[in-house]
Structures are given as C-alpha cells and as structure tokens.
C-alpha cells in the first residue's frame, strides 16, 4: 500500500536547494538589471517646495530620475485603497512618489535608476529637496487630541469609527454585582522579515509583455494592480514570487510604490530594473503594526462570569490606510476568544499619525485582542480572589454549543461563528502540561530562596482560512509525474511539502513524483494571497478537490482501458489496478496518454493514443463535457472562516535586583484540527512564539516627538536571538476537526504569537504582584513599576 502521507512529519521538500545556497530570493535574480535607490523624506510632515536634481545628473552610471511630475495617467493617482469599508469614511492613500506633501519619514519622494545600487545611492544623495516642515502628529494621544492634523481634510485625524454590539453591554455592566474599569496599551512592532521588500521587472519589447518578480505575499494582487496602473491587459503581465525570505504580513501590502515604479521604469527604459530594499528602508518605508490603546469596562458575577463587556479602543493606522480596517476589526471581534460574555459592545477609532503605515503583522490585531481579554479575565480573578483558570472555565463556550455565533461580523464580512473547538479540554491539557496545580509549591520554595517566579496563561481563538477563495490545479503528465499549482505564495511555511502530501494521498502517487508551484501567475492566475493563516485551509482544500477530480477522471479512463468497473479500481504508487487482481493494471502516466486523443505520436507510449489505435469510432474522441488531458482544477470558497484555538502558559523568573525577565518554561496547547505535517506545525508554533517573545519583552518602534524612528536598525530594534528564547517550547495538541472543509483542517501560521503579550504579562504580574497593563515590558520598565508600587525594596 502507498503510505499515508497526511499526518506524517516528513522533512520538507523545499530544504535541499535552500541549504545548498541555491535558493533564488529577489536580489539573487537579475544580475544584469539596473538598480534603484529611492530619495525618501527626512521629515515626518512637510510640504515639498522644490526638488533639484541637477547635481545628480553628472553621476557616471545614472540612467534616470523620476519624481511625481514624471508620472502620468493612473501612475500619478494615489495608490489603491485595497480593502474599502463603509465605516472608513476618510481613507487617504499615498502617491507612488510624494506629491506636494510628505506624511512620514521614509515616504518615497524620488526614484533614481542607475547601473548599480552604489551609483544609484550616489545620485540620490545629490538630489536636493526643499521642505517646509509642518507639525507632526506622533502617537495615539496626539492623534486623538487633534491639535494638529495629519491630513488637513481629515477632521480629528479619524479615518474610521466603527461600533459593533451584541446585547446591551452598558445595562449588563450597570446591573452586575462586580465591575472593573481597565486600560491596556500595546506598542508598535513590525513583521521584520530577514529579507526586505524587493521587485524586479523586465519588459519584453518583442512580445509587449511585462514580467515581474516580487518578494510578495500576493502575486495575483500585484499583477492586477500593476496592470491597472500601467494600463496593460492582465494577459500582458506575469508576476512570480521567487523564494521569499519571510513575510509575516508586511508583504501582503501591494502595490508598493516601488512595485509600480520599477515596472514603469522597466517598460520606459526597455531594461530590467530592480529594487532591493535595505534594512533602514524597511523600518521607515514598509509597514508596522500593533500600536493600540484600549479601555475596558466589565461587569461580572461572583463566579467571574462576564455579564457585560464594553471595549473602546484607538488604533494608530499611520500616515495612510491602504489595508483598510482589517487590524482593528480583527481586534474588535477576536477579543472574545473562547468566551461568551452576556453582552458585548466594542467601538474603535482608527487614527492617522505621521508615521509609517500600519498593516497586518502575524497575529494581526489578535495579539492586542488576547492581551486585552486575557488581562481582563486575570483582573476579574484577582478581584474575586479566585484561580485564573476557574474564571476562564466559567466563561468558556462549551463544545456542545458549537457552532457558536457571536452575533458579530468578522473581518471577511461574514458571521463570527466558531465551527469547532473544545476549550475545556484544551485548558485541562495545558494545566497538566505546565503543572498549574503544583506551581504554588514551586513559587513558595523559590520565594524562600529569595527568587521571584510567576506563572501565566492566556487563551485565544483565531479565525483562519479567510476567503474569498483559492484554487488548485493537478496535472498528471504522461511521464506519471504530477504537477500541482496554486496561486497563493510561500514565504517559508513549507507549502510545497504539505500540498504534495495531500496530493500523494488523494491521487495515490509517491510523494517524490509530486511537484508543487506556488505564487506564479503563469501557472495559476486566480488567487488571493497568503495571510490570515489561510494557505493550508484554502489552497490545501482546493488542491485536494482538484486531485479528486483528476483521480475520478483517471479511474474513468482506466476502467475503460482495463474493461473493469471504476468501483473495483484503486490507485497505488501511481498505478491504477483492480482490487484483488493487481496484475490487471495501468500506470497513471499511460492513463494520461490515453486521456489526450492524438493525431501525432511523439514517442513510443503516445502511439497508443493516436487516431487509428484507440477509441470507439462511433463517438467523438473528446466526449461532450469532457476535456483532453489528465488534469483536475477546482476551487475552495467557504462561507466563513474556520476557527482554530490555543492556550499558552509561561513560567518566568524576574531578578529582584535588575528586573531582568527570564523565561523558565513555555507551554503550548494548540488545536488546528488534523495536522498535515506535525513537524511543520511545531516549527510554525516555535517561530510564532519567538516573535511573541520579541513583541512582549523587547520590540518597539521608538518614535520621538518629531516622528523620527530612533531605532531603525537591527542594532537598536531588539529582536530575540537564541539567548532570549526559552530552552524548549513544550507543545501538546488537540485535533478537533473543522466541519467546513474537505480535510477538516484549521490554520495555524499565527498561532504561536497571538497570546504571547498576554501570557507574559500574566506571568510577570504573578511573580511581581504588580498589575501589568502595557506591553512590551523591558527590565527598566519593570524596575520603574516596582518603584511606583513600592515593591523595589523587597
């Protein structure tokens, strides 16, 4: 029998090339290409009075300089608002090159094209831009105060104001036996992939076609946007994602100014043109996330049951809002986690500031959501003097209540309706894994030794597999090799491995015969992209359905050829055979030959499909409703997201003198349904936890009052090295299948990061006895908190 691949933790098929240094990331391509350097604004907010390029014109190797004045047609219009929303009443978008005004440090003002990046930077440094500085708006408080405006025509700096509710939360809070008011803050962080943005474009004059390679999370999105900007037919534009050195959300934004400008320059100049972002540019001209302030009012009973929950929050969307309201909408809905408050109201404002734009970063609004909800639950437990897990248990949605509808609309405009999960079982697993009940003894022992240790936990539910759709194409070649394509892109998740596992099982072929291509519009032109933990659910399901179509066709043709009933056939190791009579068989490659009626043979095997060799002469060679070729194509387009969930616990030790925070344990219980490849699942969780540690304890975007980003380098923006990570991330799984897709799977890409700020705040609070309401928290901030609470002299 063919070994079942679904569920097998096989090594990745991607690795061999990458390990040999044969990966092809964006800047590994186009050695002959002209290179680009951007002139970027040094001011957070200013009018542009003049751009003088004269001094740059002498630079040997300069090819072209572009400013906004050189753009025309759609290129001169603001970049598109990708996701409009009825409540987004004041959307403002940047131009590809700034027109009249700049709104954040790093905004592109001019583009230089030259023989290489060194020369391009030489020329860029000689371009003189005269600015008239305007007062910058930095930080949520300044945006709310609205003493100054980011965009003169946006009153109060408010891009959007949105409210959702289910029940009368205010009345429920008013009537509740216990009430709390709490404020929570999360600072900015960013995706920060090791490879920044980049784009390479070639214009083929002979065929009038544009080919683009972009380090993107959506090639179909880039394709449509560039075709529109350059007024090309979609069929004239191909977009390919080469190997991508991490995305984590930031590369879903498109088109970046550089994507349309490089494409334009390639067409104008008739030369390949490439932009490779440097690290400082990534900090000041890509995108950030996370910055939000939250105010919670909650009413609860003696058991900690939440009777009413009212949340107001303020979201810093940066200078522009291309990705719409996705992040705050996700916060406002996913805040509910595994709980069912009696009534819920949430209201947010999305505010402009003169800083880099804010778009989803892994977790995308859920890190803040979990922080706010889980801290609120901990505060309820503290108020009542009961165990934190007890309050959670008393608020959980129960398994027999699934599907559970919260009565709200999710980020895809569909109902926030959980499809699956067993929260009590997950919490039991977590308590056992971390030793929740035994921890008090350990804490007492540690205290007796003068040590401070604490334990924390946090739960979350994550909407994954967001629509609208993805597709898959499975093609069995006459060699028997299986070529699979899907349109969404890969940034290191191991898609080629897991999709090959799915196809190997569905089709009954050896996995080594399956080759998967992602993110190439030439191979699959209809797709959405990779974000929201959706790739396995969406493309995995679509590919499974496509493989089933190919299988059905193979069985039909083979039944004809073998003069057997389809019901008696099986496919094992790439051979269709009669069950119980394995000598009656035909290879899938031969079936592929037979599937395509030929006039002209091209080798020995294909002679079998020519017109005098095969078929019933009384019927058309390709039957009505059939197609030549052994292929299957299908799409998966669900009515709603699938909801994965998880619970994390951490044990930390804080140094009584230095306030250094050390992670002693980190435990994860995760439910993403059946796992296609447990090795990859755990790798994704490890990586998410790593970024979570960074976001909770180290990473922040340090803007000064002038809107200058003070830590725009890896030297100053502190991402975790191995030394900041716990020795081991301990993982246990619960696999409750989703009823919504053919594989029962749920997404997991963001799982590891979502509860991190909440879980560390909970653990530090437990160790210190000080409320932790703002993240990230550094040793110096903890030190200051101790001083404020008078606990520094313990």
């Amino acid at each position: 029998m063919t070994t079942k691949m679904f569920g097998d933790p096989i090594p990745r098929v991607e690795d061999e090339r990458l390990l040999r240094g044969h990966g092809q990331y964006l800047d590994d391509l186009g050695h002959d290409a002209l290179e680009v350097a951007m002139v970027r604004s040094p001011h957070a907010h200013a009018r542009i009075l003049d751009i003088d390029v004269d001094a740059a014109l002498d630079v040997d190797g300069l090819v072209a300089i572009y400013t906004w004045d050189d753009l025309d047609g759609p290129l001169a219009e603001p970049l598109p608002l990708l996701i409009p929303h009825p409540t987004l009443t004041h959307p403002r978008m940047p131009y590809a090159l700034a027109k009249d005004e700049v709104n954040h440090v790093g905004e592109a003002v001019a583009m230089v094209v030259a023989t290489d990046r060194y020369v391009a930077e030489d020329a860029a440094s000689r371009i003189s831009v005269t600015y008239d500085p305007l007062p910058p708006v930095v930080g949520i408080e300044a945006a709310r105060a609205a003493t100054d405006l980011v965009h003169a025509d946006v009153p109060g700096n408010v891009a959007a104001r949105m409210r959702q509710s289910n029940g009368d939360a205010d009345a429920a809070i008013e009537a509740a036996p216990h009430r709390l008011r709490l404020d929570f803050e999360i600072e900015r962080s960013a995706s920060t992939p090791l490879e920044g943005r980049g784009v390479l474009a070639r214009w083929d004059t002979e065929s009038a076609r544009l080919r683009i390679w972009s380090s993107t999370q959506t090639t179909t999105g880039v394709r449509a946007a560039i075709a529109a900007r350059l007024e090309l037919d979609l069929g004239q534009v191909d977009v390919i994602a080469p190997d991508v050195g991490g995305g984590f959300g930031v590369k879903i934004v498109h088109p970046w100014p550089e994507e349309v400008l490089v494409a334009m320059a390639a067409r104008t100049l008739g030369r390949a043109v490439k932009f490779t972002e440097d690290r400082r540019e990534h900090f000041v001209s890509a995108a950030h996330e996370r910055g939000q302030l939250h105010h919670v009012e909650v009413g609860f009973d003696d058991e900690g049951r939440i009777l009413g929950l009212s949340v107001r929050f303020w979201h810093d969307n940066g200078a522009f809002i291309p990705y719409g309201l996705i992040v705050p909408i996700v916060t406002s809905t996913q805040l509910l986690g595994p709980y069912k408050p009696g009534a819920y109201t949430v209201e947010f404002e999305s505010l402009y500031t003169n800083t880099v734009l804010v778009t989803p970063y892994r977790g995308a609004g859920r890190v803040h959501a979990a922080f706010v909800m889980e801290r609120t639950i901990d505060a309820i437990a503290a108020e009542l003097g009961v165990d934190r897990t007890a309050v959670r248990e008393n608020n959980f949605i129960q398994p027999d209540e699934m599907p559970y509808d919260h009565g709200l609309l999710f980020q895809d405009g569909k109902p926030l309706r959980y499809d699956s999960g067993d929260f009590p079982a997950s919490l039991e697993k977590l308590k056992k894994l971390v030793g929740w009940e035994e921890f008090a003894t350990f804490r007492d022992q540690a205290r007796a030794e003068g040590r401070r240790v604490g334990i924390g936990l946090a739960c979350y539910v994550e909407g994954t597999g967001v629509g609208p759709y993805e597709g898959g194409h499975v093609h069995v070649e006459t060699s028997g090799k299986v070529k699979v394509a899907t349109g969404l892109t890969s940034q290191g998740q191991g898609h080629k491995t897991v999709f090959a596992q799915i196809v190997a099982d569905e089709l009954g072929v050896p996995i080594d015969d399956v080759e998967v291509v992602t993110g190439d519009t030439r191979r699959f032109p209809y797709a959405v992209g990779t974000f929201a933990s959706r790739a396995a659910v969406m493309s995995g399901s679509a590919i499974a359905l496509a493989a089933r179509r190919a299988r059905a066709k193979a069985l039909r043709i083979a039944a004809d050829a073998l003069e057997a009933s389809e019901d008696d056939l099986e496919i094992v190791d790439g051979v269709v055979r009669v069950r119980g009579a394995p000598d009656t068989q035909i290879a899938l490659g031969t079936v592929a030959v037979l599937s395509n009626p030929l006039r002209y043979a091209f080798d020995e095997a294909s002679k079998a499909a020519t017109q005098f060799a095969v078929g019933d002469p009384s019927k058309p060679p390709v039957a009505e409703g059939d197609e030549p070729g052994l292929e299957g194509r299908d799409y998966y387009s669900p009515n709603q997201s699938t909801f994965a969930n998880g619970m994390h616990a951490a044990v930390v030790e804080t140094d009584p003198d230095t306030a250094e925070i050390r992670i002693l344990r980190y435990c994860v219980v995760h439910d993403c349904g059946p796992m296609i490849n447990p090795r990859i699942v755990e790798g994704q969780i490890h990586g998410g936890v790593g970024q979570g540690v960074g976001g909770a304890l180290y990473e922040r975007m340090a803007y000064d009052e002038y809107g200058q980003l003070l830590n725009a380098s890896f030297m100053d923006f502190l991402m975790p090295y191995v030394t900041e990570m716990p020795e081991q991330i301990e993982i246990d799984h619960l696999e409750t299948p989703s009823p919504l897709n053919p594989l029962g799977i749920k997404g997991l890409g963001e799982a590891g990061i979502i509860p991190s700020s909440a879980v560390f705040a909970s653990a530090i609070e437990d160790a210190e006895g000080i409320p932790i309401r703002s993240m990230p928290i550094s040793p110096s901030e903890l030190f200051e908190l101790r001083r404020q609470h008078g606990t520094d002299g313990d």
């Binding site: 390990l19 391509l29 040997d60 190997d243 440097d278 998967v516 970024q691 890896f714 030394t723």
Partner: protein, 190 residues
Amino acid sequence: MAEPTHAIRLHVNGVAYDLDVPARRLLSDALRHDLELTGTHVGCEHGVCGACTVLLDGEPVRACLTLAVSVDGEEITTVEGLESADGELGPVQQAFKDCHGLQCGFCTPGFLTTITAGLRDNPDPTRDEAREMIAGNLCRCTGYQNIVAAVLRAAELKADTGGSEIAKHAGVSRDMPTASVADGDRGGTP
C-alpha cells in the same frame, strides 16, 4: 568620471576568481553580484543579523562589513562550499534538514557557515554551547529551537563520518562558473 577599480583575486570555495572592483565594494556584493554566488545573503547591512557570514581562512566574518579589496588573496568559504566531497549535503546542512532547522531559508547560510566553524573548534558541544555557537545570528522564522537541535545533530553526523565537509573544493581550480540554473518551477530566465 568612472570610479577607479582595483584588481584582486578571491579564492572562493577553492576556486580562484580575478576581479576588478571599486575600493568600496563590499565582499557580500562581490560574492553575490560579481561572482553570482548568491547563497550568501544580506539581512541588515551592519553586521548584526549574521546572514552574510562567510568563512575567511576558516573564521566566520560578516561579508557585509568586509571590503572585497581587503581580502585579496584570501580563502573564502561560502554556503555553496559546504557540501560533502561526494556532492551530498554536508553534515551541518543535513542536520538542518533532519531537524527542520529552516523555514524561509534566508538567514540559513549564515548559520551553516557559523556552525561549520563552531563545530570544527568544538566538535562535541553541550546544549548550552550549541546555543552559544549560534547566539550571534538572527532568525525570524524558527524560534531557534530546531537550529539548536541541528547543531547537536550535525555534531553527531560529523562524528559518524569523521570527514570535513569543506574538503570538496580543495585544490580545484576552474574558470568562473556560470550563474546557477533556475529550478524548474521558477520558469524562464529572470
């Protein structure tokens, strides 16, 4: 005015390359764009992330902080030179595959070179020493746990084979190689 250049010879993975480069050309750019050995990656351009780490006469250095002219005549090993003599993955590479030590793969070459040098100096590291060995390299994907496991696994593999994984190119001399061929699924010349 054209920028003055300097004639240098780089010995990379056992192959001698003659180059004319401006004084300011970084070793990382010379390797990647002049020699088209693009396995060495650049993540931060200021020596913090370690993705560009190559071995200079066996010692790990940041290629993004090294001027190409300053290593004229020296022996350089990049990720492309870490295969075993028989063309199979070298032990550190194999260990990364066995342990799922990479995801996007962008930082990986710098880890592979760093660990290669680290295991030469300390062939049998403890878990703490394995962590220390990689403590100067940033990875944004893996959370490092599987990379630490890969260090220990590589030490086992090396002990089993007893071979040196960078022996392949020793003593070989040939003309400048052509650019690496695209994988089938990339399609077309970039």
